[in-house]
């Protein structure tokens, strides 16, 4: 039983008691209880929607900080806390400390903390800061990844390590910042390293023992990608060896396509969905072909990993357009027909709606300014590429490609409100020039081959927070922001949407209109994902990390103060961000009186 299971029962209305008595033993089932937040995306559909209604558009102006805690860690704080029963769990960037806070006591003192050894070599192997995207609660265990290629399961009550499994090879450039997804007794994890020439995979581990049950590669032979003729059917391709014949000989061996983003799950179809990263290297001329299944969405059965369908968003990626962004599951009425869909906001700037049973493309419209492709052909599933935006060594410099490789959206997950029928997402408004160069593969070093300076996109603001109507396939409203917006999103049944900004504001806006309701300066830029929970006192709270970093740690100039031997000139496209934020990891909780 998790700690505080008694509070878990008390904190919910009597009518829900029976459900919760059962649910307290089974982590994933708890996701239906809006008092808690037991998995990264709130639920298997990855909606990040909380049914709590105490905080509303009318009273959000009275929000105030009720608690904060310094994690003692300076890396970028992506990811989100979990709340299970009366305990809040926080996993930090490297060195991946796991804190368990007692929400029943004033000041939320720790019940315990778990400090694993995580190899510092991982700092140099992780492409884009030393982030961690969060933990998953299941069966009395907190399951998460250490940056150095291990998955651990920790007893949620005591902090005792139950198992630790090596899943990735640091010496080959693999790191593991992603958040696992647990389905029944299977823990699904993936690797990072698209900039290090790794070969992408997801693995299914046994929840009870940590043993690796299956490995499904993104690229390579049918046997390696777990595609068998009886089970696998790609909606736009026939034939076999699709993830092998779209590569030059042996190109797939260091071809990237890692799985560093978010996973979702449809219990009825028994399918796990996730996106794959860019093909390696960034110089496309070293890997001619479509490079399947890089920059794709894959649907697998979690039990044995078997691949059921796959769809590629950006064939022959020329622009580092990873597709690891979350796949949000819902139902929509499109052309008069009710469809079980998957909605995905790709780095490439298009918002995709797919039939999640088959992978068939239903719509694809730009949600940010896009110029690398004119449209996506719904008959073939392929983008109609503007050939003047193609890149490669022989093309020299390709100018003014929108969006930049930071994507219309990147790691920061969107939210879906079944109440407003809108998606909410944080976007970047950047374009780039792209100069490719020949890349040499050396294990454990970057395998890139491109220089890609950024400029502001149309309008001059570097980001925007938007609401997206998936049926009309257009924006419902938009809030321009001076900097790229890099936080995840929380939306609630109270009609409020929460997000944070790179310059360190945490904001609440009206879910219907986007009208600003409240904001608070949290001390460092926000790249994490807000959550909501009901405390043991019965009140609704909102929690979020502050902690500037991720890609922006690399390219924002002088935002670090911990290393006297590393001072940097301001970024050309964003010269004053360091005026507003430095690194620094904090957990914040907000509530009403």
């Amino acid at each position: 039983m998790p700690p505080g299971s008694a509070n878990c029962r008390i904190a919910v209305p009597l009518a829900m008691l029976i459900t919760v008595l059962v649910a307290c033993d089974r982590g994933p089932a708890l996701a239906h209880d809006d008092g808690q937040w037991t998995m990264p995306g709130k639920d298997y559909a990855a909606t990040r929607f909380s049914g709590l209604t105490e905080i509303t558009a009318a009273n959000a102006k009275d929000l105030h900080a009720t608690w904060s805690f310094s994690t003692g860690v300076l890396g970028g704080h992506e990811g989100q806390p979990l709340v299970v029963g009366s305990t809040m769990y926080v996993v930090t960037p490297w060195p991946n400390v796991l804190y368990a806070f007692d929400l029943t006591k004033e000041g939320y003192p720790l019940r315990w903390k778990y400090r694993p050894f995580v190899d510092p070599q991982a700092i140099g192997q992780a492409c884009c800061d030393i982030v961690n995207r969060g933990a998953f609660h299941a069966d009395g265990k907190i399951v998460f990844n250490l940056l150095d290629g291990h998955t651990v399961a920790v007893d949620a009550a005591t902090g005792r390590e139950i198992w630790k499994t090596k899943i990735a090879d640091l010496n080959a450039g693999e790191t593991t910042p992603m958040a696992p997804l647990v389905v029944k007794d299977r823990v699904i994890v993936g690797n990072s390293g698209g900039e290090m020439g790794v070969r992408g995979w997801v693995k299914g581990l046994d929840l009870n023992t940590g043993a690796i049950v299956w490995t499904g590669y993104s690229i390579g032979s049918d046997a390696d990608v777990l595609a068998s003729p009886g089970t696998f059917k790609a909606p736009y391709h026939d034939g076999r060896e699709l993830a092998l014949d779209s590569w030059p000989k042996d190109g797939w061996k260091h071809g990237g396509a890692p799985a560093w983003g978010w996973l979702s799950y449809d219990a009825e179809l028994d399918l796990v969905y996730y996106g794959t990263g860019n093909p390696a290297p960034w110089n496309t001329e070293q890997r001619r072909g479509d490079n399947r299944w890089a920059t794709s969405v894959l649907a697998r059965h979690p039990g044995d990993g078997s691949l059921v369908w796959a769809y590629q968003f950006t064939p022959a990626d020329n622009w580092d357009y990873d597709s690891t962004q979350e796949m949000i599951l819902t139902e929509l009425t499109l052309s008069g027909e009710r469809r079980k869909v998957l909605v995905h906001f790709d780095k490439n700037g298009f918002a995709y709606v797919l039939d999640r049973t088959t992978g068939q493309l239903l719509s694809a419209e730009p949600y940010v300014p896009v110029n690398w492709a004119r449209r996506v052909d719904l008959a073939t599933g392929r983008p109609e590429v503007d050939s003047t935006k193609l890149t490669g060594v022989t093309r020299g410099i390709t100018k003014d490609i929108c969006p930049s490789l930071e994507g219309g959206k990147n790691q920061q997950p969107a939210a879906w409100s079944p109440v407003t029928q809108l998606f909410y997402l944080s976007t970047s408004n950047l374009c780039m020039d792209y100069t490719a160069s020949a890349a040499s593969y050396l294990a454990g070093t970057p395998y890139v081959g491109a220089t890609t300076p950024y400029t502001a996109g149309p309008g001059g603001h570097l980001g925007a927070f938007i609401a997206w109507d998936p049926v009309k396939a257009k924006r419902a409203w938009e809030i321009p922001e001076p900097y790229p917006v890099w936080s995840g999103v929380l939306t609630t049944a109270g009609g409020v949407v929460f997000y944070g900004t790179l310059d360190g504001w945490f904001k609440a806006v009206d879910a219907r209109t986007g009208a600003p309701l409240w904001k608070f300066k949290v001390g460092s830029g926000v790249i994490g994902n807000p959550i909501s929970f009901r405390g043991p006192d019965g009140k609704q709270y909102v929690a979020v990390y502050a902690g500037f970093g991720g890609d922006w740690f690399l390219i924002s100039g002088d935002v670090r103060s911990d290393d006297p031997a590393d001072v940097r000139a301001p970024a050309t496209f964003m010269p004053d961000i360091a005026r507003h934020t430095s690194q620094g990891g904090m957990v914040w909780v907000f509530g009403l009186d």
């Binding site: 991982a122 140099g124 070093t445 590393d566």
Partner: protein, 148 residues
């Protein structure tokens, strides 16, 4: 490539290609990481920690090519200005900036993620990289102070 007279561009490319090929073929991965890092501190006996190319601007240009060719820029950024790894162009050194210290950092690696290239690159190639890293003009003394 401009300004390289004694060592034309083609030769740099050949050196790079040969070095990369050697690195790809002849590197036992078990030697490149743990043992090199844990061995940190004692100089390889054959190497005198004095840069034979110090101040040679032609070699510095070759070094800048090697800096890209061996993916150093993937971590330390274009122009060594800092990226996921620290800036090498700011005149400040976490592990020391004299000839031998920079050489050792490249040869043995450093514990917070710098790979050991000693098994992959001949000493002369490392010295060319050191020459490049030493070639930056002393930075503006105000680089560590920003005002708005």
């Amino acid at each position: 490539m401009r300004g390289v007279r004694s060592f034309p561009a083609v030769a740099v490319l050949l050196l790079l290609r040969a070095s990369v090929a050697a690195a790809q073929q002849a590197v036992p991965p078990t030697v490149r990481y743990d043992q090199h890092v844990s061995a940190g501190g004692s100089a390889p006996p054959a190497v005198v920690p004095r840069n034979p190319f110090r101040g040679d601007s032609g070699v510095a240009v070759q070094g800048s090519q090697l800096f890209s060719g061996f993916n150093c820029d993937g971590c330390h950024g274009g122009g060594a200005a800092g990226f996921v790894g620290p800036s090498m162009a700011d005149g400040r050194w976490r592990y020391g900036g004299d000839d031998g210290a920079i050489f050792m950092s490249i040869f043995y690696g450093r514990p917070r993620g710098m790979p050991a290239f000693g098994g992959a690159l001949p000493a002369e190639t490392i010295w060319r990289l050191v020459t490049y890293l030493q070639s930056f003009q002393p930075p503006d003394s105000t680089i560590s102070t920003t005002s708005w």
